[in-house]
C-alpha cells in the first residue's frame, strides 16, 4: 500500500466534489430502482398524447414524439446509460491495466510488440475506431460494449505501462523479485496497489467519456437500437424538436452533462488527493518513460 503514502495532505472534499458525488449516487440509485419508481413503462406509447409539455396531467416531464413518458424514459435511461458506462469502464480498465502491467513488467520484445499495437490503436481518432467496430459488430448492448472496450483499452494500457516502467526498478519491486515472488505476484501484490490512484483517475474520466461516446454514436445512427431508452438515444432523436419541444433535447442533455461533469470532477479530485504536486503525473510519467524506452531501444546496435 505504498502508493497511498504519496498522499501529502487530506484536503476535505470541496463543495463541488461533494455535489458531484451526490449526483452520481443519486443517479445510481434512480437507475437501480428504475422499474419501481418510473411512473410508466418506458415504451408505452399514447400517440394521441405526443409532444405534450412538462406538467401535463400524468406526465411530469412531458411526452416524446411517440407519446411516451419522458420522466420514465429518463429514469430507465439512467439505468441503461450508467450500467453501460460502468461496465465498459470496468472491462476497459481490466483489459488495459492487464496489458499495461504485462508490457511494462516484462519489457523487451513483449513490450515492443504491445506498444506498437497501442500506437496503432491510438493513431486512430477514438470515434473512428468506435464507429467502425459498431458498424462491423452490429446493434445491441453487448456489441456496443465490446466496441467501446476494444477501442478504449490503450487509454489505460499506456499510462499504466509508463508507471510500471518506473516502479519496476524500485527497491521493493526488486527485493520482491529477488525473494522469488512470481511475476504475477509482483504485478498484483506490489505494482497494482501503487498504480491504483492512476487507475482510479483514468476510470472516473473514462466513465464520463463512455456516456458521451454513446451519445455521439446515437447521433451518427449507430446507437443502441430504437426501443432501448438511453440518454444518448433520447438526445439524438430529441434534437429535431429543439424549437418545438425543448424538453426532449434539454432534459437528457442535462442528465448527460451532470453525470459526465461529475465523473470528471471526481477524477480530478482523486488525482489531486493522491498527488497534489503534479496532478498530471500520468501524462508526464508517460512522456518520460517513453523517452527512456526510446533511448533504450535506439541504443541497441541492431538498427
Amino acid at each position: 500500500m505504498n502508493g497511498f503514502l504519496w498522499r501529502r495532505s487530506t484536503p476535505l472534499p470541496n463543495i463541488i466534489v461533494v455535489f458531484a458525488i451526490t449526483i452520481m449516487i443519486a443517479f445510481a440509485v434512480i437507475g437501480l430502482l428504475a422499474p419501481w419508481i418510473a411512473p410508466h413503462p418506458p415504451n408505452a406509447q399514447t400517440l394521441m398524447m405526443r409532444l405534450r409539455p412538462p406538467g401535463t396531467e400524468g406526465y411530469l416531464l412531458g411526452t416524446d414524439q411517440l407519446g411516451r413518458d419522458v420522466l420514465s424514459r429518463l429514469i430507465h435511461g439512467a439505468r441503461i446509460s450508467l450500467a453501460i458506462g460502468v461496465i465498459v469502464m470496468l472491462l476497459t480498465a481490466m483489459l488495459g491495466v492487464a496489458i499495461g502491467l504485462i508490457s511494462g513488467y516484462f519489457g523487451g520484445v513483449v513490450d515492443a510488440v504491445i506498444m506498437r499495437i497501442v500506437d496503432i490503436w491510438l493513431a486512430f481518432p477514438f470515434l473512428v475506431l468506435a464507429i467502425a467496430l459498431v458498424a462491423v459488430l452490429g446493434q445491441g448492448v453487448d456489441k456496443l460494449v465490446i466496441a467501446l472496450v476494444l477501442s478504449g483499452w490503450p487509454g489505460f494500457a499506456r499510462p499504466v505501462r509508463g508507471e510500471v516502467l518506473q516502479l519496476r526498478e524500485r527497491e521493493y519491486t526488486l527485493s520482491a523479485r529477488a525473494l522469488g515472488v512470481s511475476p504475477f505476484g509482483v504485478m498484483f501484490k506490489h505494482l497494482l496497489p501503487n498504480i491504483m490512484p492512476t487507475i482510479l483517475v483514468l476510470s472516473a474520466i473514462d466513465l464520463g467519456y463512455n456516456i458521451l461516446a454513446l451519445a455521439s454514436l446515437s447521433f451518427l445512427g449507430l446507437g443502441m437500437g430504437a426501443e432501448t431508452a438511453t440518454w444518448g438515444g433520447m438526445l439524438a432523436s430529441g434534437r429535431n424538436y429543439v424549437a418545438t419541444a425543448w424538453w426532449l433535447a434539454a432534459l437528457p442533455g442535462i442528465a448527460i452533462f451532470l453525470v459526465v461533469m461529475s465523473s470528471n470532477l471526481i477524477g480530478d479530485w482523486i488525482r489531486d488527493r493522491y498527488d497534489p504536486r503534479s496532478p498530471f503525473r500520468v501524462a508526464k510519467n508517460q512522456a518520460i518513460a517513453e523517452a527512456r524506452a526510446r533511448a533504450a531501444a535506439s541504443a541497441k546496435p541492431a538498427l
Binding site: N43, A44, Q45, L47, M48, R50, L51, Q65, L66, A135, G138, Q139, G221, L222, G223, G225, A226, E227, S237, R239, N240, Y241, V242, A243, T244
Partner: protein
C-alpha cells in the same frame, strides 16, 4: 463585380480551371446570392457526385443534371404520366424498331442546335463498355441493340427483343433517366475530364461553379426552348444534418430545403414557412419472411398481420396527415394501382387470436429515418402479445439484410421511379428466377403469377393487359400477402413564403425550377 467574378474558389485543382473558364461570364449569379436577390438558394443533404450525367445513379445528382440538361421525355408528378420533352413522339416501325422524333430549334447553352446526332451520341456513349456507366442497363436497355440516325430530327431505336407498343417500350428505353449530351463537347473529353467539365446541355440553367461538398451554382439560360427562367439562378448548398438545414431556413439564409421529415413539420408551419407536399410513390410496407421456419410462413398469420396495424393512426399522428394509407401492393399513383381496392381493414379483434399464438422473439429491421413508424408498429404488435423489438440499421446494412432475406420483419420501402409495375415486380422480387441469384427479400414467389406477368409484358391489347394486371395485384395483395402495405409517405419541401410556382415530383425530384419565382 467583374474582378470578383474572375476569381475562382475551387477546391479541386482540375475544377478550378473549369470554374475559371465560366466564372468570367457567369460570376454575377454567385455574387447576387447574398440575399434579397433573384437567386433561389436550396439546402439539401447531398452534393452532386459528378458533372457527367452518365456516371452516377443518384436521384440528387440527377436533379442538378436535369436543371442543366433536358431529357427526351420525363414523368409528370401526379400519376407519373410520360410527358414529351425533347422528343415529340415515338412511332413503331416493326416489332423491334421505333422512331423517335425530336423537337426542332432546341438550342444548347453554346448556341448549337440539338440534332439527332447528339441524341444518338448520348446513348452510344452510355452503352459503350469503355464508358463503364452504371446507368447503361437501366430500364430494359440491356436488350437494346443500337440507335441509328435517320435524319436531322429522327433517331431509330433497334431492340433485341420485342418491346411492345410505344407506350410501354418508352419505359424500357428509360428516356426519363437519360439527359441529352452535346456531342461536339463530349466526344473529345475523356471520362475523367467529363467528370468536372462544365456541362453543356439544353436545360434551363447554365453551369456557373461547383465547389464539391459546399455548393453548386447555375444561372438562367436565356435561350431555353421553353422560354427563359423566371429566376436568375439556383444555388444548392450541401448540409447533411436536417436540424441545421431547418435552422438555415428559419434564419433566412436559404429559400428552400428538402427533404423534410415529419419531425419538423410543426416547427416549419409555426414559423410561417410554405410546404410543398406531394403524395409520394415511395410506399412503406412491412415485408414478412415467408420462408419455412419463419412465423410468417403461415398465410393465416400474414392475413392477421394485414389487419393488425392502425395505419390511419400512423399517418394522422406521426405524419401530421402527410401521407396516404396503402392497402395494396402497388402504391398510390403507380401503374396497376386499383382505385378503391382495400381488401383488409384495421380489425384488432380478428388479428388477436392468431397473433397471440406467435410468441417467439421477432425483430423489425428499419433505417434511421423510418424509425418512428417502425416503433409504433412494434408497440401495436406487442399489444397482441407478440414479442417484437425494433432494430435500427444503417442504410448499407439494411440494404444487405433486405437483399439477403435474412430477417423476420423488414420495415421497407419501394419507390418505383418509372411507375412501371412490371419493373417493380422484378425488383421487389416476386419473380421465381431471382430467388436463387439476387434480391431474395421475402422469399415469396409463384410460378403462376410469373406466367401472367410475362404475358402482360408482351400483351398488345390494353384491356386484356389491364385485366391480367388486376388479377396479379389482387392475388399478391390478398391471397399470398408477402407484405403489409402501410402508407405512402409524402415528399415534402419547405420554403420561404415568397417562393412561388415550385412543384415537386412524387419521386422527390423537381423539374420546373425555371417556373419558380421569388416574390419578396
Amino acid at each position: 463585380m467583374t474582378r470578383k467574378s474572375a476569381m475562382t474558389a475551387s477546391g479541386g485543382l482540375k475544377l478550378s480551371v473549369a470554374a475559371l473558364a465560366l466564372a468570367l461570364s457567369a460570376g454575377s449569379v454567385a455574387a447576387q446570392a447574398g440575399g434579397g436577390s433573384n437567386v433561389l438558394r436550396i439546402a439539401w443533404p447531398w452534393d452532386p457526385s459528378t458533372m457527367d450525367a452518365q456516371m452516377h445513379r443518384q436521384r440528387y445528382t440527377q436533379i442538378v443534371s436535369h436543371a442543366m440538361r433536358d431529357k427526351l421525355m420525363y414523368q409528370e408528378p401526379p400519376g407519373l404520366a410520360l410527358v414529351p420533352l425533347l422528343a415529340t413522339s415515338v412511332t413503331q416501325i416493326d416489332e423491334t424498331s421505333y422512331d423517335v422524333h425530336l423537337r426542332e430549334g432546341v438550342l444548347f447553352h453554346n448556341g448549337d442546335e440539338m440534332t439527332a446526332e447528339d441524341v444518338a451520341f448520348t446513348f452510344e456513349r452510355l452503352w459503350d463498355p469503355a464508358t463503364e456507366s452504371p446507368r447503361a442497363r437501366m430500364g430494359n436497355m440491356g436488350n437494346i441493340d443500337r440507335v441509328e440516325v435517320i435524319d436531322r430530327y429522327t433517331v431509330r431505336w433497334h431492340t433485341k427483343i420485342p418491346f411492345g407498343p410505344p407506350a410501354s417500350a418508352i419505359l424500357g428505353f428509360h428516356f426519363s433517366g437519360q439527359e441529352i449530351l452535346h456531342k461536339a463537347t463530349y466526344e473529345n473529353l475523356t471520362i475523367e475530364q467529363a467528370r468536372t467539365h462544365p456541362p453543356v446541355g439544353v436545360g434551363a440553367f447554365r453551369y456557373v461553379e461547383w465547389l464539391p461538398e459546399q455548393r453548386m451554382v447555375v444561372e438562367a439560360f436565356e435561350d431555353y426552348w421553353q422560354g427563359p427562367p423566371t429566376i436568375d439562378g439556383v444555388i444548392w448548398r450541401t448540409i447533411p444534418e436536417e436540424a441545421t438545414r431547418v435552422a438555415e431556413l428559419l434564419a433566412g439564409s436559404v429559400d428552400m430545403i428538402h427533404p423534410v421529415t415529419p419531425d419538423f413539420v410543426d416547427q416549419l408551419r409555426g414559423a410561417g414557412m410554405k410546404l410543398e407536399i406531394v403524395a409520394g410513390t415511395n410506399m412503406r410496407m412491412l415485408m414478412m419472411n415467408v420462408r419455412e421456419g419463419s412465423p410468417f410462413h403461415d398465410p393465416e398469420v400474414r392475413r392477421a398481420m394485414n389487419m393488425a396495424i392502425d395505419k390511419q393512426g400512423i399517418v394522422d399522428f406521426l405524419y401530421a396527415g402527410l401521407g396516404v394509407v396503402a392497402t395494396q401492393v402497388p402504391g398510390d399513383g403507380q401503374e396497376g394501382h386499383i382505385e378503391g381496392y382495400s381488401p383488409f381493414s384495421f380489425d384488432p379483434e380478428a388479428a388477436r387470436p392468431v397473433l397471440s399464438q406467435v410468441t417467439q422473439p421477432i425483430e423489425i429491421f428499419t433505417q434511421g429515418v423510418w424509425q418512428l413508424p417502425a416503433e409504433v408498429i412494434a408497440e401495436q404488435l406487442r399489444g397482441y402479445g407478440m414479442n417484437v423489438t425494433t432494430v435500427v440499421l444503417d442504410d448499407a446494412t439494411f440494404n444487405q439484410v433486405n437483399e439477403s432475406g435474412n430477417f423476420d420483419l423488414l420495415w421497407a420501402g419501394a419507390g418505383y421511379g418509372s411507375g412501371d409495375f412490371t419493373g417493380a415486380y422484378y425488383n421487389n422480387h416476386f419473380e421465381c428466377v431471382r430467388l436463387e441469384t439476387d434480391r431474395v427479400r421475402t422469399g415469396f414467389c409463384n410460378e403462376e403469377l410469373d406466367g401472367k406477368m410475362a404475358a402482360i409484358r408482351t400483351e398488345a391489347d390494353a384491356e386484356t393487359r389491364q385485366a391480367l394486371l388486376d388479377e396479379v395485384i389482387q392475388e399478391l395483395t390478398e391471397v399470398h400477402m408477402p407484405w403489409v402495405p402501410v402508407f405512402n409517405a409524402a415528399e415534402v419541401w419547405a420554403m420561404q413564403p415568397y417562393v412561388n410556382g415550385f412543384r415537386g415530383s412524387s419521386a422527390g425530384q423537381y423539374f420546373n425550377l425555371h417556373r419558380v419565382s421569388l416574390d419578396r
